[in-house]
């Protein structure tokens, strides 16, 4: 693939403990012309970033997309570690989950996540990432827009009703 000199290939760090979902998200991101690094845990994500080495950013990462339900460090824990770090707090973080739990979604958005995607993640979701990469500053307008999208999803596919207990 020939890249124009002015085109930036953004680097996305994908975090998911399930192999199938890692493979899927990697393909979705590569199809959307992102450079991808996929790891299977929050700990590995932090190691990759270089968070453990005096908080110095070893590799340039433009966005982190992480699963919520992971053993050990959850996606939320990872989100908070990123946002509490002086070197990494400006990296946009997106959370994915197979469970549609409004309180969980709110918590993640309040915790600094740019978007919350319901699994299985689709190409239309990945298309929502680019604005977060172009615009690095977080505003309340952006956050509200993300919440509106979750409350009234514009997806055309039918979703079954899950009986979820928080």
């Amino acid at each position: 693939m020939v890249m124009a000199a002015s085109e930036t290939k953004f680097h996305v760090l994908a975090v998911d403990d399930t192999l199938i979902d890692r493979k899927l998200i990697e393909k979705l991101l590569k199809t959307s012309s992102y450079q991808v690094t996929a790891v299977d845990s929050g700990t590995k994500a932090l190691e990759f970033l270089g968070l453990n080495n005096n908080d110095h950013q070893d590799v340039k990462v433009n966005l982190i997309i992480t699963d919520y339900c992971m053993p050990g460090m959850t996606g939320y824990d990872l989100l908070r570690k990123i946002k509490e770090s002086s070197s990494f707090k400006d990296i946009p973080v997106v959370i994915m989950s197979s469970d549609n739990i409004p309180s969980r979604i709110n918590r993640c958005l309040e915790g600094g996540a740019e978007e919350f995607f319901l699994k299985p993640v689709q190409l239309s979701d990945v298309n929502k990432l680019r604005p977060h990469l172009m615009k690095r500053t977080q505003t309340n307008v952006n956050k509200r827009k993300a919440m509106d999208e979750i409350v009234s999803p514009d997806r055309t596919r039918a979703r079954y009703n899950e009986l979820e207990v928080n």
């Binding site: 399930t18 979902d21 899927l24 393909k27 339900c69 299985p120 207990v165």
Partner: protein, 149 residues
């Protein structure tokens, strides 16, 4: 059977899988991600699903044979199975996992046993159907044709 007949058979077969609720649009998404750079993408992802499912179904069987049943662990395993079936569009398996999780939550052994049997049954069916579909695709490729979308 000539190429056109094979291709028609594949389209009909695939359509029936959607109509009968075995597959949902997520499977279509998977197919749309496959390209010349990744010509085996769907087969690879589905193979991972087969491996994952067989491992989880074995673990769930063992869990239900224990004197003391660890419902929390079972719930986590069903959650995994639900996730992977959802990721490939295995609709019936996914739906059953939701019911299964409810029985785990309620610590209902009878319900769990019944559900496990049903999930094993549905898994067996979708595995056979997908393998048949892949075989048909391979026949078409071997005959020099292309897979109809």
């Amino acid at each position: 059977m000539d190429l056109v007949q094979l291709q028609r058979q594949l389209v009909d077969y695939r359509t029936s899988l959607y109509h009968e609720g075995f597959l949902d649009e997520q499977f279509t998404q998977l197919q749309s991600l496959q390209d010349e750079n990744n010509p085996d993408f769907v087969v690879e992802v589905v193979s991972l699903f087969f491996e994952d499912s067989e491992r989880l179904l074995n673990e769930l069987s063992k869990a239900l044979e224990q004197q003391v049943i660890d419902f929390k662990r079972m719930d986590a395993q069903v959650h995994q199975l639900k996730g992977s079936s959802s990721s490939i569009g295995a609709h019936r398996v996914q739906k059953l996992c939701i019911v299964f999780r409810n029985y785990c939550e309620a610590q209902n052994v009878e319900g769990c046993l019944k559900c496990l049997q049903q999930v094993k049954h549905e898994y067996g069916i979708i595995k056979t159907k997908l393998e048949s579909m892949f075989q048909l695709e391979q026949q078409i490729l071997n005959a020099g044709g292309s897979i109809p979308v």
